[in-house]
């Protein structure tokens, strides 16, 4: 039995054609009518999250706009917005200008904007507690604040005494958070649906798989969790969320790079692709209900739950060239399984096994790239403590025209209580190199690689020898 797609009722798999623009995922809902020139009301949000630190946000609101020019502010947009990607569309509306203001309101900035203007200062006498109110004009804010109070000049808090400063208004363009504003020109006045969309950073997703492997029965259960990480600084409330699996190119710098050290291998597929002709360039996954993707949150949504998939453990050793190792090398332990009709979006696959007491324990993990259905997957779990290979180059001789004849011996040791089979691969058979003599029959895996299946008895060892001739 292979892994079959079990999409939890919750999550549907959709397929998007390359380059197709995401469509609005819901019907517009009535929202409170608001005045233009003021902040827009609570939006209906949809998110399209990509693997590589990228999100497309669609923000749909109903705005009551006057005819002619007006300005709309969107203070709730992602702090990690790419303002150059903003697009605002509505019926009978044309965009005159878009601004993204990130001059943040701080006490120092506010004071700088007061040069030439009046402020109120409140001095407090520390001995008596008596407060004195005075009007002052800010003359300069350079390494200190210089004030004109009445007809004399002084520096603010030159005496170090507590002095409150009261400002009349918050200066224009200084904001609590980065704010997008759009100046529009409306043909007619009245409420209408406004569709804002933009790209932003700070959101990404991949998949976290946990496989519980039963070695005695060669069975595995596999759970897949869509994992969304939000470090954008903004919480997205009740968002219709869609995830795109695939590699998307962007020209701007992205915060997260994938430097996974240990990658799973996808070997030749078994050809059981279903709906193969329906495949576009990407898979998309829809979260069925609206979800809140909070700032500083890792959100996981179940999408795959497979019981009783067939999986086999195998031992593998790769010898790259013809040479010796001065210590015995542990062989790798791999887990092989297939996904018959469930494409597996990229993510880390973690394999757990139960110990003698029945507690699950970590065995190993590998990073799996986007894997179409019908693939044979090989996950590296780790190294076998008890199974080792000691390769030795017995001799090198000249052979033919500047070629080599290598005599190799491989000592395989097994300290386990049961016999094992090791897949030993010797690479480096370049230029039509061939086996002249071998103690076990090999199989030519590809032009450059030999494969031996070496049985090693329990608490025992096997020595494999081979003579290989490689022309120059």
């Amino acid at each position: 039995m292979r892994i079959r797609t079990v999409l939890l009722g919750a999550l549907a798999l959709g397929i998007a054609a390359a380059g197709a623009a995401p469509k609005p995922k819901h019907k517009p809902r009535p929202a409170p009518v608001a005045q233009a020139r003021t902040e827009a009301p609570q939006p209906q949000l949809s998110l399209t999250v990509y693997n590589n630190d990228l999100v497309m946000v669609q923000d749909i609101r109903t705005l009551d706009l006057p005819a002619g020019r007006s300005r709309i502010e969107f203070p709730g947009v992602s702090a990690a917005i790419r303002p150059e990607t903003v697009s605002l569309t509505a019926k009978g509306l044309s965009v005159v200008e878009q601004n993204f203001d990130y001059d943040l309101l701080t006490p120092a900035k506010m004071m700088e904007k007061q040069v030439g203007h009046d402020i109120q200062i409140v001095r407090i006498n520390p001995a008596t507690g008596v407060q004195t109110n005075e009007t002052a004009t800010v003359l300069s804010v350079n390494s200190g604040v210089v004030l004109r109070v009445g007809n004399h000049i002084e520096a603010l808090r030159d005496d170090g005494l507590p002095t409150r400063v009261m400002f009349g208004a918050i200066p224009e363009n200084l904001r609590a958070s980065p704010t997008l504003s759009v100046t529009v020109d409306a043909e007619t006045g009245g409420p209408r649906q406004v569709n804002l969309s933009y790209l932003g950073n700070g959101l990404s997703w991949d998949t976290a798989y946990v496989g519980l492997y039963d070695e005695k029965r060669d069975l595995m259960s596999l759970q897949g969790w869509i994992t969304i990480r939000n470090s954008s600084g903004t919480s997205f409330k009740n968002a219709d969320t869609e995830l795109v699996a695939g590699t998307i190119n962007t020209t701007f710098e992205s915060g997260s790079q994938n430097y996974a050290r240990n990658n799973a291998t996808v070997r030749a597929g078994s050809g059981e692709h279903r709906n193969a002709d329906a495949l576009g360039d990407f898979y998309t996954y829809r979260v069925p209900e609206r979800v809140t993707v909070a700032n500083q949150q890792t959100k996981q949504i179940a999408f795959l739950d497979v019981q009783g998939a067939h999986a086999t453990k195998l031992y593998e050793y790769q010898q790259y060239g013809f040479g010796s190792e001065d210590t015995a090398q542990h062989v790798k332990v791999d887990l092989a399984f297939s996904n018959s009709d469930a494409p597996l979006p990229q993510g880390t696959v973690r394999i757990y096994m139960r110990d003698a007491k029945g507690d699950p324990k970590f065995v190993g993990e590998s990073y799996l790239g986007h894997t179409p259905a019908g693939s044979d997957i090989l996950l590296e779990l780790g190294e076998a403590f008890d199974v080792t290979v000691q390769p030795t180059l017995l001799s090198t001789e000249a052979w033919g025209k500047a070629g080599h004849r290598y005599k190799m011996s491989y000592l395989l040791r097994n300290a386990r209580g049961e016999a094992v089979n090791v897949e030993l691969r010797q690479q480096g058979l370049y230029n039509g190199g061939d086996v002249e003599d071998e103690s076990l029959k090999s199989r030519r895996l590809d032009a450059h690689t030999l494969l031996w299946n070496v049985p090693v008895p329990a608490h025992g060892e096997t020595t494999l020898t081979a003579t290989i001739e490689v022309p120059r």
Partner: protein, 527 residues
């Protein structure tokens, strides 16, 4: 008064959970297993130099009463270094559909940042009378310190006014005291459920440390092994069944606990002519240094501390070994407390009468260059054991450091060197290089060299004369090696091919020297 305030805060935190939330305050039982990722060095840990990849694995059990229908289970008291993606939950009849790990932590900064646009109270204290007065204001900005708006106008707090503080009515939604793992479930029926939650937690490590104490006869040694556990996270596991896993599990190197520190806001006030302020003026101070750079307090404990340091031979082992997957699982025989910032040692091996061989080596180079090619060099001291039952060993030996302790002429133990071993299953040799010998010198002279041709390619034939001088009062065993890819043409002793090296072995009597001659050929393109 203070107690009341604390209780109120606790109530408010619990209150930030919704009505249908089920809060599990802490696990009923916790087990922890540590994995090996590099060697534990307590001095390095105290300096804050630690592997970012080191991790452990936690199994928790919790008994939770769940209502029928949908609910959200909040798992409080999980390890703060939990990697949420690794969570594996068992015991629910129907699987969970959604789970969240929230790490927007409650801090003075996040409290303020989440209050922008909200009404708060400003409390000022009269410096003369100590009387407090409270007024209402709306927070207008937070990122550079609080800017508030009240009936009197706009004002920046903490920029040189009188003592003043902000008072909030409640904790904004989404802020919690600790990172919280939560799971959304729909139960077919209400009841008590026994759940097990398993996950990877970072910042834990272990390695083995061995002491090889040479017995008085000099032919055998006593090998004792210690498991050194290190917990350099800020969470402790009290009285937890503890295990370590020997072997090398593959990791992507990408697993990290989400960085949960709590927002910090430094006020950005206007400049002052005189620095009266309590805070550093503009520009704001850098964010707090990363935890990794701080020198932290590390506690070192040991179980069964031997009386004379590592020279004891108490035969008690606190550990039993089992097979697990292709690894070895060592379980401490009683629950132990693995405290935060602690290194703990437990004895797991005590093996008397292990046969060993001590010899001296010199690694020859096929094509020596330079002017000092006939200089006398000290030989390298090597110890060799076979991990076999007939030699007194035959046990899996997890990777770690091995110290060799000999006896000085007065009969006192003396440390003579240390080396590292990899994971060593039964049947493999153990080789240690512990240092250079003062009294065993090697002079390798290149006595003849000529160019030749082998298989149509230019080669070179080098002849060596090696003099080994033993100034010790005992005979020694010596081993000379050359790389295994040269050809030996002439030799006055038989060589062997051992671990990819040609090796010549011979004895050198006390206080004398032995001369050995050999010739090798190699392709000039190789050396």
């Amino acid at each position: 008064m203070r107690l009341a305030a604390t209780l109120l805060l606790a109530a408010a935190l619990a209150g930030s959970a919704r009505a249908d939330d089920v809060v599990s305050e802490k696990p009923d039982t916790v087990k922890v297993a540590l994995y090996h990722q590099g060697y534990v060095d307590t001095q390095q840990l105290m300096r804050g130099e630690q592997s970012a990849y080191a991790f452990g694995f936690v199994n928790e059990t919790r008994t939770i009463a769940l209502p029928a229908g949908p609910s959200l289970i909040r798992f409080r008291g999980v390890a703060s270094t939990m990697v949420p993606e690794t969570a594996h939950l068992e015991g629910l009849p129907a699987g969970a559909a959604e789970r969240n790990f929230d790490y927007d932590l409650l801090s003075p900064g996040s409290l303020l940042a989440h209050s922008v646009g909200r009404v708060v109270h400003v409390v000022r204290t009269d410096p003369k009378t100590g009387k407090e007065s409270t007024s209402e204001a709306t927070v207008r900005a937070a990122s550079g310190g609080p800017v508030i708006e009240s009936a009197r106008g706009i004002e920046a707090l903490h920029c040189g006014g009188p003592p003043e503080r902000l008072v909030f009515d409640d904790i904004p939604e989404g802020l919690a005291d600790k990172p919280t793992f939560s799971v959304r479930v729909t139960m077919p029926e209400a009841g008590q459920y026994a759940l097990t939650l398993s996950y990877v937690a970072m910042r834990m490590n272990w390695s083995a440390d061995y002491v090889a104490r040479i017995d008085p006869g000099g032919d055998t040694l006593t090998l004792s092994g210690w498991i050194t556990l290190a917990n350099f996270s800020d969470i402790g596991f009290a009285d937890a069944p503890t295990q370590v896993i020997a072997g090398s599990a593959s990791t992507t190197g990408e697993d990290r606990a989400p960085s949960a520190r709590g927002l910090r806001i430094a006020p950005q006030c206007w400049p002052l002519a005189v620095d009266w302020a309590h805070w550093p003026p503009f520009p704001p101070p850098p964010p707090p240094a990363a935890m990794d750079n701080l020198v932290e307090t590390v506690i070192v404990t040991a179980s069964r501390i031997p009386q004379v340091g590592f020279y004891s031979s108490s035969p008690v082992t606190a550990v039993s070994m089992q097979e697990f997957a292709d690894y070895k699982l060592y379980s401490l025989n009683w629950p132990t407390t693995v405290a935060a910032n602690q290194t703990k040692q437990v004895r797991f091996l005590d093996q008397p009468a292990v046969k060993f061989e001590r010899f001296y080596t010199y690694r020859g180079y096929p094509n020596p260059a330079g002017d000092d090619k006939d200089a006398r060099e000290p030989a390298t001291i090597r110890y060799r054991m076979e991990n076999l039952e007939k030699d007194g060993l035959g046990k899996p030996l997890p990777a770690g450091s091995m110290s060799v302790v000999d006896t000085d002429p007065r009969g006192a133990p003396i440390f003579v060197g240390q080396d590292r071993i990899g994971d060593t299953p039964e049947g493999l040799p153990i080789a240690l290089e512990t240092g250079k010998a003062m009294d065993v010198g090697v002079q390798s002279r290149l006595v003849a060299t000529r160019n030749a041709e082998e298989g149509g390619r230019p080669s070179r034939i080098n002849s060596f004369e090696v003099t080994v001088r033993n100034d010790r009062s005992v005979p020694i065993r010596f081993e000379l090696t050359q790389p295994g890819d040269v050809r030996v043409l002439e030799e006055d002793r038989r060589h062997s091919l051992d671990h990819g090296l040609f090796a010549w072995r011979f004895d050198v009597p006390a206080g004398s020297e032995t001369v050995m001659r050999y010739s090798i050929e190699f392709w000039r393109s190789d050396y």
